[in-house]
């Protein structure tokens, strides 16, 4: 029983990352009908930007002697990184995707893939071979509930993730821009006809998605403090699976699917010999897709979603 609860906690934490990154994929995919394969690498860039901001803030504290508590630095780091990384996302949209708006979706997808590779290699070229260690902004504290160990970090990660998702949900449901985005996911062509320029929505979508990825990157840096240029690849592709699993047009679905993927991976590793984790976890995904081909909450769309 202990192990079961422990793994629920583990799964919640691990799934948060998939969920946050999948949200970015899902937004771009639902609203702009694009796969953005550079997203995993935006997550990586966000993590590195977070490292930079945190180091700068810590340096600032050291220099000026103003004692900023760790949690404040963390919040500032997250906010600043989200802000800066959103520009990265908008830049990618402008340079890589906007010129290809009328091109087949696959070409845009490949462009994204290539941009991702450039981000990885660029990082390697600029920062060199060593791995970076994300600064410990908060003292680690482990709480024990019966046989279950929960660190404050885990709580923080899940909390912040859920918080961000809630904020996103409110934005999409209540704000005008959110309404425009939802409209676009229903009918891509109609929205510009109503006077809302795609050239405003697209960058906004990318900005939000990238900001979320950046937050994920920093939380990830907290939990797994070793940064390397290729950290976004596997996570990115798996989050992509989660995003589509969640269904087109459903932000909630992507988040749910992200958590589900996290749970599946953790529980499969627990129940079966851990070497078989990928085989079983992805077979389960295949089964889900065979029986629910439109994902969890996807709308059976009349418009062709061909690439």
């Amino acid at each position: 029983m202990d192990l079961f609860l422990q793994n629920i906690v583990n799964g919640l934490q691990w799934g948060s990352f998939y969920a946050l990154i999948a949200l970015g994929y899902s937004m771009v995919y639902s609203i702009l009908m694009l796969f953005n394969f550079a997203h995993g690498d935006v997550f990586m860039v966000g993590s590195y930007i977070g490292f930079g901001v945190a180091t700068a803030l810590l340096g600032f504290v050291a220099m000026t002697g103003i004692p900023l508590p760790g949690w404040l630095i963390l919040i500032l780091t997250i906010l600043f990184s989200m802000f800066f990384t959103s520009f990265v996302g908008m830049f990618i949209e402008r340079v890589g995707y906007r010129p290809l708006r009328d091109a087949p979706r696959a070409s845009a997808a490949i462009t994204g893939l290539m941009i991702g590779i450039i981000l990885e290699t660029g990082n390697l070229a600029i920062l060199g071979a060593r791995r970076l260690s994300f600064p410990q902004l908060i003292e680690s504290a482990t709480y024990q509930f019966g046989g279950v160990y929960v660190t404050n970090k885990k709580i923080l990660i899940v909390g912040v993730s859920l918080g961000l998702m809630y904020l996103l949900h409110r934005f999409i449901q209540k704000s005008k821009w959110g309404m425009a985005m939802r409209a676009m996911s229903f009918d891509f062509q109609a929205v510009p006809l109503m006077g809302v320029s795609i050239n405003k929505i697209a960058p906004l979508t990318f900005a939000i998605g990238s900001a979320l990825a950046s937050a994920a990157g920093i939380l990830y840096g907290l939990a797994y403090p070793v940064l390397d240029p290729y950290m976004g690849i596997l996570l990115g592709w798996k989050a992509f699976v989660a995003a589509i699993l969640g269904g087109r047009g459903s932000i909630l679905g992507a988040a749910l699917a992200g958590f589900l993927l996290g749970f599946i991976e953790i529980f499969v590793a627990w129940i079966f010999p851990s070497t078989l984790r990928d085989v079983i976890a992805y077979s389960i995904i295949l089964l889900i897709l065979t029986f629910r081909p439109h994902g969890f909450f996807g709308q059976a769309h009349s418009t062709q979603l061909r690439l």
Binding site: Y29, A106, T111, M114, I233, I244, Y282, S283, L289, L307
Partner: protein
């Protein structure tokens, strides 16, 4: 001013016209003779010429590697390229123009197969000589041919049928491992399976069978993707194929009897140049026929509008299954060849990196086009090797190139063009004579 512009434009036209006048009347077979001549020139004179030009060795990959490592050698390298490649080709091509045209005309009247065989024989001769000079060239050539097969096989699914399938490394893995298991089990004394069960001499003859077995294994794997694809749309297919990729990779890592993560090594040396070349030619021919047939048109129909295709009596289910299995089959065969060229396979070779490479080749070269796939595979492969001295910057230049191609020609360099061998081999009329 006006006349200067006019003259400049005329000059440009002049250059193009002159090139046309020069190259136009030369039939394909003429160029092949030229290539053969260049290869012969290099074979006999290459060493001496490179020595006198001060080059440390014969430049292996058209001088790219030499030049990138020691820029001082650029003049010598250019001299080499001109003397050994350009001059012989130009001389032979022009002097043999009439006889070549007559030969082309003669072959034109014969069945296409005979003409094709003659052309291929010449081409192979040139390649063989060229590769003979260096083991590295041989390796690069073989890997490029395998890349061509891979690109063609994914183009059938991604280009002609318009899906976005990410499972090709998985098919390749299935083919590689199946073929390797068969050859190691039956024909080699090795660490994995112990002594050979059959006589080692029989090996090379059974190799094609091993390759086919690999292809069939991959095709069976494709069923795993094809069946869910009936009910799903393009995007869901993408993640089904991704899931397939992860499953295959993880499965192999767990199967101890095929070496698990360690992989298998010391496959017998069955992937000789003639073998790889023949399989590649067969692959191009069969795939070309497939996409030009009714089935090929059905593929395009399914891509453009599945509902309408169904309404027009295209059996979309059957089409999808056959296409997936067909594409997977060739990927499996390519995988089998790959295993025997590198003589080592491990699950790590068939992951996301491989996927990125294959996608790059097919989208760069061009969708829905046999020529495009060939061009894409050759370019990316040769570039990948030629830019080696740049180390990590190679991986910035190649993606940038691809992005540029995507921006200016979103469907790839040569897309939607048919590959018509008969037309290529026709004799060319002399432009002057026509006037």
């Amino acid at each position: 001013m006006h006349s200067l512009e006019h003259k400049a434009r005329q000059d440009k036209k002049g250059i193009r016209a002159r090139l046309q006048a020069f190259a136009g009347p030369i039939p394909l077979i003429g160029w092949l003779f030229g290539l053969l001549g260049a290869a012969l020139a290099e074979y006999f004179l290459g060493d001496i010429i490179s020595y006198y030009l001060g080059l440390p060795k014969i430049p292996v990959l058209f001088g790219f590697l030499t030049v990138l490592k020691k820029p001082l050698l650029i003049p010598g390298t250019i001299g080499y390229l001109i003397l050994v490649y350009v001059l012989p080709v130009l001389i032979i091509v022009k002097s043999l123009q009439k006889p070549a045209n007559r030969l082309a005309g003669f072959l034109d009247k014969r069945p296409v197969t005979i003409a094709a065989l003659v052309h291929l024989g010449l081409f192979y001769g040139a390649l063989h000589l060229w590769a003979d000079m260096s083991d590295y060239r041989l390796l690069v050539l073989k890997l490029t041919m395998i890349a061509i097969m891979l690109t063609l096989s994914i183009n059938v699914i991604n280009g002609y049928m318009g899906e976005f399938s990410c499972s090709h490394p998985g098919f390749m893995a299935l083919g590689a491992y199946t073929a390797s298991t068969i050859t190691l089990l039956l024909f080699a004394d090795d660490k994995q399976f112990g002594d050979a069960l059959l006589s080692q001499a029989l090996g090379p003859y059974f190799f094609p069978l091993a390759l086919i077995a690999g292809g069939i294994a991959a095709a069976l794997g494709a069923l795993v993707i094809a069946i869910p694809s009936f009910r799903t749309r393009g995007d869901y297919l993408a993640i089904i194929s991704l899931a397939f990729l992860f499953i295959v990779k993880s499965l192999i890592e767990n199967l101890e009897f095929v070496g698990g993560p360690r992989g298998m090594s010391s496959q017998p040396h069955y992937s000789t140049l003639p073998m790889v070349f023949s399989v590649m030619v067969l692959c191009i021919w069969i795939i070309n026929n497939f996409v030009r047939s009714t089935m090929g048109k059905a593929l395009n129909a399914v891509r453009d509008n599945e509902l309408a295709a169904e309404a027009m009596t295209v059996n979309t289910r059957k089409t999808k299954i056959i296409t997936f299995m067909f594409g997977a089959f060739w990927a499996g065969v390519a995988g089998g060849l790959f295993a025997h060229v590198l003589r080592y396979v491990n699950p790590g070779s068939f992951g996301i990196q491989r996927l990125a490479e294959i996608l790059a080749m097919v989208y760069f070269g061009g969708l829905n086009s046999v020529t495009g796939s060939i061009v894409g595979a050759v370019s990316i492969n040769i570039l990948g090797e030629a830019l080696r001295p740049l180390e990590i910057y190679k991986w910035i230049i190649i993606p940038l190139l691809l992005i540029l191609v995507m921006l200016y020609r979103p469907t790839g360099l040569i897309a939607f063009t048919e590959f018509k061998p008969k037309e290529l081999m026709k004799p060319r009329k002399n432009m002057v004579e026509e006037d």
